[in-house]
């Protein structure tokens, strides 16, 4: 599948040089674009295809009282994007539109993401869009400028890896557990230089949103991009969306998209397998997404790890995380819960978290916030009454944005605070200096908020009625 998309987009391929690849969709946000627009201005260049370029603001925006950006530099970035979008004729979904949201939630929602497209954005989690069978990768600001100016990207051809999920998903196991489990097993750099294609029954049976969760974290395995072949699930999701082809055009598109699927017997440069049957809900314990384990396990003992590098890294991580080796995961108390981000801020994620929270109260020791991935997710959740379930349980219900995924807005952990987070990175200081992040699924996060510590959500007692 990768080969087909690649070949469809190569404009110039010269021996010993990166190929020039045409880009079908370029998503832009406020943090990685100012210097790129500035570069265009300085060299007197224009945006070549404003019609293929879409912008939103997400990283900086407050999720409370959102029009009042108190940090002057955040405000400057947001205003700069507004100005640049106007000047260069780029469509912008700003805070006044319902479509504003985390760029990787918004794109698919608008139907901008299609199978077979090449998609780039100055953000590493662009890999999310691979869930549709699009070749999507994150780029740096120089490349943002390059794509704005030329609608092309210079790329060396990556290698391909099949990541085969073997077996069926057990009840209570989420898409987040699949990808966290994979990275815990193989590490954060096994995908470096590769485009990974996820295959297997467990992947086929995922909903579109769950597939996005898996592809989102491909970059956490080091991969250039993640891919899932399109099928009925993909087409059903896209049908009727604003930027999806309409009517007969849609049927023709489906034909074209279906031809992208990997041929039987295709060879990959590398194949890895991952056993789904024995997977339990995942929690990370360290400061890299690969430092994770099952909820039924304990914090590792560094001395017992196989290599010197691993021992050193684990010891440093545990020191930062303030965890004692050997502590059962279920005995780790938490202070904060964040449900949201481009990994788990979509409507299904909020539904899943709400079903756990329903009829319970957030532990008195915990601050819990729910940040929808986009204005539309928020609206839909409110239609379904999810906001009420959350608020009654004691969660704060916020406006759309990246929020505590990277804490560039006012939502920040205090030093030493421990957070169960549905986002994708647990690096030191990611959610605030000295903050300690544990990555989990939305269900696990909601359950942790209520219990005040991590619990195995497979044994959760769901309440169907909200008790006052």
């Amino acid at each position: 599948m990768f080969e087909k998309i690649w070949n469809n987009h190569v404009i110039v391929a010269e021996e010993g040089k990166p190929s020039i690849l045409y880009i079908d969709l370029h998503l832009v946000h406020e943090v990685t674009s100012p210097q790129a627009f500035e570069g265009l201005r300085m060299s007197g260049r224009k945006v070549r295809r404003p019609d293929l370029t879409f912008a939103t603001m997400d990283h900086n925006v407050p999720t409370k009282d959102r029009f009042n950006i108190t940090d002057p530099i955040s405000k400057q970035q947001v205003d700069t994007l507004t100005r640049n979008a106007q000047e260069f004729g780029v469509k912008l979904y700003d805070l006044n539109t319902i479509d504003q949201g985390v760029v990787h939630v918004m794109g698919p929602e608008l139907g901008l993401t299609h199978p077979g497209k090449t998609i780039v954005c100055g953000d590493s989690h662009t890999s999310t869009h691979g869930a549709f069978g699009a070749l999507a990768f994150g780029i740096g600001t120089s490349e943002v400028e390059h794509v704005l100016a030329t609608q092309c990207l210079q790329q060396a051809k990556p290698k391909t890896m099949e990541v085969r999920f073997v077996g069926k998903r057990r009840p209570g196991i989420t898409a987040k557990d699949l990808i966290l489990g994979l990275i815990a097993q193989y590490g954060t750099d096994f995908g470096t230089g590769f485009v990974m294609e996820y295959t297997g029954e467990a992947i086929r049976s995922l909903s579109m949103e769950e597939r996005m969760t898996v592809c989102n974290m491909s970059i956490e395995a080091g991969a250039r991009a993640g891919l899932i072949a399109p099928d009925e699930t993909t087409y059903n999701y896209l049908r009727g969306r604003e930027y999806a082809p309409q009517g007969a055009d849609f049927d023709r598109a489906v034909e074209r998209w279906s031809a992208l699927r990997t041929d039987e017997g295709a060879v990959y440069d590398k194949v890895v397998e991952f056993d789904v049957e024995s997977l339990v809900p995942q929690v990370t314990w360290g400061t890299s997404p690969g430092m994770g384990t099952g909820i039924t396990s304990s914090v590792p003992v560094p001395e017992q790890l196989p290599t010197e590098n691993e021992r050193k890294a684990a010891a440093a991580a545990l020191d930062y995380m303030g965890l004692k080796p050997g502590t059962p995961m279920t005995e780790i108390p938490i202070d904060y819960v964040f449900i949201g981000s481009c990994t788990n801020g979509r409507i299904e994620d909020l539904r899943a978290a709400a079903s756990v929270a329903k009829g319970y109260k957030v532990s008195p020791n915990v601050t819990a916030i729910v940040v929808p991935g986009s204005g539309r997710v928020k609206l839909q959740a409110e239609k379904e009454g999810l906001d009420k379930i959350f608020v009654e349980a004691g969660f704060e219900w916020r406006d759309a944005g990246c929020s505590m995924c990277l804490a560039m807005n006012p939502d920040v952990l205090q030093p030493g605070q421990r957070c169960a987070s549905t986002s994708n990175r647990n690096f030191e200081g990611r959610q605030g200096r000295g903050g300690r992040t544990h990555l989990v699924s939305p269900e696990m996060a909601a359950a942790a908020a209520i219990a005040g510590r991590f619990v195995d959500v497979r044994h959760w007692e769901f309440k169907s009625e909200v008790t006052a």
Partner: protein, 199 residues
């Protein structure tokens, strides 16, 4: 972009695996709208504690590493986000060359766009460089991109590998966009084809 041909400079170690872009430049500093001025924030949370005091143990705070222009580190350097602020900070601080056993893709790519040479060596070779740096105050390396070799004054002579295109790119300090725009005809032809197919 400033070409990279040959340089000699002081070596500074950052002895960690998986140095991520959040560590290289924390997000609170991503808000500038310029490209320059990021060096002061490089490794911010490792250099200063909460109260703003220097953390003396951190290598870049030690007098012997002041003015370094070659950075050595461990595997998977630059993992995490796509922020080009990471290489901007490294460059602005004064580094022109980063040596590690492996790099994350986006970071690696971003280096070339900014005239930084990232060099991959084996784990053993990097370990050797760490030891030499520790043992010899004022340890310097000469990085010669023309001949793809690294030498020190103590007999070390290592060759390294680099994609030829990338090498030329750095040697000449080329402008990517200009290179692509030379293919204007091919791009326009592709766009016409694309429009005809109704995409």
């Amino acid at each position: 972009m400033q070409p990279f041909v040959k340089m000699t400079g002081l070596v500074a170690p950052v002895d960690r695996v998986n140095v991520d872009t959040d560590a290289i430049i924390p997000k609170q500093f991503l808000k500038r709208i310029e490209r320059s001025g990021f060096g002061q924030f490089l490794f911010f949370e490792w250099r200063w504690d909460e109260k703003g005091n220097e953390i003396p143990e951190f290598s870049l705070n030690q007098p012997r590493y002041q003015g370094a222009s070659v950075l050595i580190s461990r595997a998977n350097f630059g993992c995490g986000s796509s922020r080009e602020h990471a290489p901007w900070a490294i460059l602005d601080y004064g580094f022109r060359c980063v040596i590690a056993p492996s790099f994350a893709d986006i970071f690696y790519n971003n280096c070339f766009k900014n005239g930084i040479l990232p060099i991959k060596l084996s784990e053993e070779q990097v370990e050797d460089l760490f030891q030499r740096t520790a043992a010899n105050p004022g340890y310097e390396l000469t990085v010669d991109l023309e001949n793809k070799v690294i030498t020190d004054g103590l007999g070390l002579n290592l060759s390294f590998d680099l994609d030829e295109h990338r090498r030329q790119f750095l040697l000449q300090g080329l402008d990517d966009i200009g290179l692509t725009l030379k293919h204007e005809d091919a791009i326009a032809a592709y766009e016409a084809k694309r429009a005809a197919a109704g995409i």
